[in-house]
Amino acid sequence: MVLTAHHLKKSYTSRGQTLTAVRDVSFDMSGGEVLAFLGPNGAGKTTCIKMIAGLIQPDAGWVKIGDYDPHSDRRALRLLGAVLEGNRNLYWRLTPEENLEYFGVLRGLSQRVARQRGQVLLERFNLTHKRHTLVQSLSRGMQQKLAIAVALIHQPQLLLLDEPTLGLDVEATLDVKRLVREIAAEGRAILLTTHQLALAEELSDEVAIINNGEIIAQQPTEALIQQFSGSAYSIELESAIDSGRKHRLEALGVGIPAPQTLRIPQPETLYSVLEILNPLPLLRVEKDRASLTDVFLQLVRESQDV
């Protein structure tokens, strides 16, 4: 396992009041896996990420990165890279090349290796032409790509990305998506938090939904979506259906919400329906599929009702 988080708990006390940020969170990740950590604001995502990174001390529970606890063994930090949300993560008064070299040495590399790896990363992240530009003069997208490059300089096994596409334009978001896929394909585990559920659906192998400091669902992304998807089919016709076919379809239990749209609640009747429709031109035959947004909203609402 690259990462194991075991029964993490964290509360804060402020002005005599205790706020529980994380009640009980456990999960693990292996190499090459992308885990999307989703939850509404204040659910405890960032606290979890920072407990994993050794930046916040948990009240109970433990974290292992590889074989090391980041809270007591600094060797764990050699296996970890992080881009934290709301942070610049970089020195704005230095250039991309200087940032890569500086953070490389800070992560334990020699100056020569840091410089060499920096060049490779700049090329891979399409930033070579900006290597001598001060970071403060780069676009937000370039800064974010550079922050990810810096987090990878020491080739960590685990990468934490807290809201990696926040505030990025479409092109920069596409770039970050491509990079996440590439990094995971190299065998690194990526823990990703995001409010962009479509992005999580696209990139993650597994989803953990956290609310009120607890994981309320954790499954492979596809299985979770399937679980919440119905078994009905929808068919869209090019033109309105005639009355003869309409009666035969209704006899099979098919719903006709609009003259060109059919809804088939029993999947076993699909081919009988298609025979009735033959040879009418079809625009679309589709099985009902929930989106991660539907799943997320349903689960979070259910957990709030409880």
Binding site: K50, R74, Y102, R107
Partner: protein, 257 residues
């Protein structure tokens, strides 16, 4: 560690060159403040009074004060700036400890500041006609003063780590340092003299004044006291920094500002 030092030195050097206007104005500012102090002292003392080695003593204290300000600015001010700009947490993700990073930074910065402080000292000597001596042994008491300065800077850094906004405290602290480094504590009589051993940086400053302003040889017993004093304040600073780091991690304070 040496690798980290070289990288910090490079980073400091790049920043000094890139933002040289800031550092030049700081050097000019410190020199002007001293010149103002010098002129007003001469005015109060009257034209007939020769300041002699007392002036030299003040210059030594003033230059040490400017060293301490640089160290304080680099460690305590640096921590606050990093928290503000959002790079502090990245430093805590390093396999090097935060104290190691900030002390190395302080030393790298000091290496550059030696050149700058040398400039301040030369400017002051030209303006006031002072003639200080620079025996190589001065490096020993200077080292003890710097140890104390790092200790105090780490202690103030601990405050910055937990409280974040410490500009006001740092401002007041500068005057406390001014008092510690410019007051000729060696002239205090009786039990007050014992206090000199306990106050931060004071024994080393006293030695430096004797060496540089009065041309006396190094008093080794006094040096040992100064060394113990410097080490004690450094250990205290490291201890407080460790406590503050644990506290900040427990209360989730590293990221916020």
């Amino acid at each position: 560690m040496f690798r980290l030092f070289l990288t910090e030195l490079k980073r400091e050097w790049i920043l000094q060159l890139r933002y040289s206007a800031e550092i030049i104005s700081f050097v000019i500012g410190l020199t002007i403040v001293f010149y103002g102090l010098f002129q007003s002292t001469r005015y109060i003392a009257g034209p007939g009074v020769q300041l002699g080695d007392r002036l030299d003593s003040i210059i030594v204290g003033y230059v040490l004060w400017s060293f301490s300000l640089f160290i304080l600015g680099e460690i305590a001010g640096g921590l606050q700036r990093e928290a503000q700009t959002g790079t502090l947490e990245q430093l805590f993700l390093s396999p090097f400890s935060a104290a190691q990073i900030f002390i190395t930074r302080g030393i790298a910065n000091l290496t550059i500041q030696f050149a700058l402080n040398g400039t301040i000292l030369l400017l002051i000597m030209v303006m006031t006609g002072s003639r200080l001596s620079f025996p190589p042994t001065l490096l020993l008491p200077l080292g003890t003063v710097l140890l104390g300065a790092y200790g105090l800077a780490l202690a103030m850094g601990s405050l910055a780590l937990v409280l974040k906004r410490v500009q006001q405290v740092l401002g007041i602290f500068q005057f406390l340092l001014f008092f510690l480094l410019l007051i000729p504590a060696e002239s205090w009589a009786g039990s007050a003299n014992f206090l000199v051993w306990l106050l931060p940086m004071t024994p080393g400053t006293e030695l430096l004044r004797a060496l540089m302003a009065r041309g006396q040889p190094l008093d080794w017993v006094q040096f040992l006291i100064a060394l113990l004093n410097g080490v004690a304040y450094l250990v205290l600073g490291l201890f407080l920094f460790g406590v503050a780091e644990r506290q900040a991690k427990r209360r989730g304070l590293l990221g916020g500002y």
